[in-house]
Symmetry: C2
Subunit: 334 residues, 2 copies
Amino acid sequence: MLTKNDAQAKPHDRLATYLSADMTAVGTLIAERMASEHAPRIPEVTAHLVGAGGKRLRPMLTLAAARLCGYNGPYHVHLAATVEFIHTATLLHDDVVDESRQRRGRPTANLLWDNQSSVLVGDYLFARSFQLMTEPGSMRVMKILSNAAATIAEGEVLQLTAANNLATDESIYLQVVRGKTAALFSAATEVGGVIADAPEDRVKALFAYGDALGIAFQIADDLLDYRGDAGSTGKNIGDDFREGKLTLPVIKAVAQANAQERAFWARTIEKGQQDEADLDQALTLMDKHGTLDATESDARAWADKAKSALSPLPEHELKETLADLADYVVSRLS
Amino acid sequence: MLTKNDAQAKPHDRLATYLSADMTAVGTLIAERMASEHAPRIPEVTAHLVGAGGKRLRPMLTLAAARLCGYNGPYHVHLAATVEFIHTATLLHDDVVDESRQRRGRPTANLLWDNQSSVLVGDYLFARSFQLMTEPGSMRVMKILSNAAATIAEGEVLQLTAANNLATDESIYLQVVRGKTAALFSAATEVGGVIADAPEDRVKALFAYGDALGIAFQIADDLLDYRGDAGSTGKNIGDDFREGKLTLPVIKAVAQANAQERAFWARTIEKGQQDEADLDQALTLMDKHGTLDATESDARAWADKAKSALSPLPEHELKETLADLADYVVSRLS
């Protein structure tokens, strides 16, 4: 049971406390499976990223979903490690695609080694994740996770082509967000229910929770890029704007733009021609049309949707923690 | 049955003739599964590579293995498409890693689009291959193919770190070759036997055939880079030397080098300091130690091993064609 202090802790930390034995097993399995007899570069690159921490939210979602449905193991550990491997492989490839130089406060692998190592070690981790996911012997689990991997890659490609295109609307944005973030969240929670052999309504509930949580999480992230987070994110305000990324606050502003405003967005986002004063002007336009507040409302609505989705699940302290997690994801916004 | 003309045709063409209905089904499945509802960039990039032809040897090996073991479908088609998707994904990533500009006589995808598209579309095809391989519902097939994907990535990483290192010996070379080439050949033939529910000795024979054929194929390719192939490969003699790649003819020459020769290899391969006359000097040293002939003997020995491996398989015209294919792979060498 949770103590009073535990109950006041951040939901993420409460999950980590509740699941600490399982997470130790996940960590052991990850260390074991990222090894390579022949190519020491593989564990070096992987350890750099895995060792940098990260909240390991996705594997905890799998473990929490399985435990909440009464599962006693051992395969939730394999599935949690699978999910973390897919996530890590995606990060390695994302940093190559975005030419990133920092991740989790450390230089990226593509900077420390090279793009080649990041591409190939990412491929190795994808392959390892597929080996891991076969071990529980559940066809349904394999279909869910391989579908998620395809949706993630599709979302990334869509983002690549949609990024600087003013025709990108809210429905395309939602597809990108489902791909880049929500697909792995929803697969993580769904397979937890499936491995526990939970009734169909609970499996569906877990999927819907992960999907809505992932969308809330990504919209919040995109909003914080313009609003900041009292210095706790380490991101600079306006990074997405400078990279010409069309995220929800800008998409909403473009949709309401007059001709002059549209020309501003076309120059700064589509053509990437920006000067120092343009970020302020962008913020002024978003303020004029109230798009930061509207984006916040969307994030909160998805967080509420995540909480409602949990209703078919049995009463359990993990259920309360998952509900609090949905609130927490958007709590940074006010 | 084969006609007399068919029997004189190249073994690869005889396979294509025998398997033409199956290969049409594979082509249809590939076209269907490379589509993307949301990201048209995916089929564009994939079609560029798939449309450039390529011999589709790997999917034919799966189909031939399955048919040779009496399988009547339909899942050999899924597995053949899986193998081709893994191969295509690998090519897309290889071209990024090697910064290649040409593939199958056309500009590479990374040149026509960008590295980002090649990385992400490759990821999509990997994910698609895993979706496809789940469809026959055979755990063993999934383990074989996911293991192969891990071995391929591991071999590529090993190649990256071993490429310019004079300490690379024949056993490391063999690991790299098994990874980059033979792992997918042997998985392609093995899953053909598994899906046909062939007896264990035949499955093992198919694995051994694919492994030895892949090794013979790669050694021959590496040898032709120094010997040329009467203009039919389209590769320039000495490309591997200029890129500082340690392949078998050079590894054998380094192993027998005196101090002066070792200094030559250290300068040209490890440090990459080369001038115009160095390729001739490299060829002179390989000639002195007979390493091109020794490499040819190795390739022929692996081709013979591939043929011998076939003996547990039933008499069948496909068996003869596979044996002829092993001979054909090394026939370009003399």
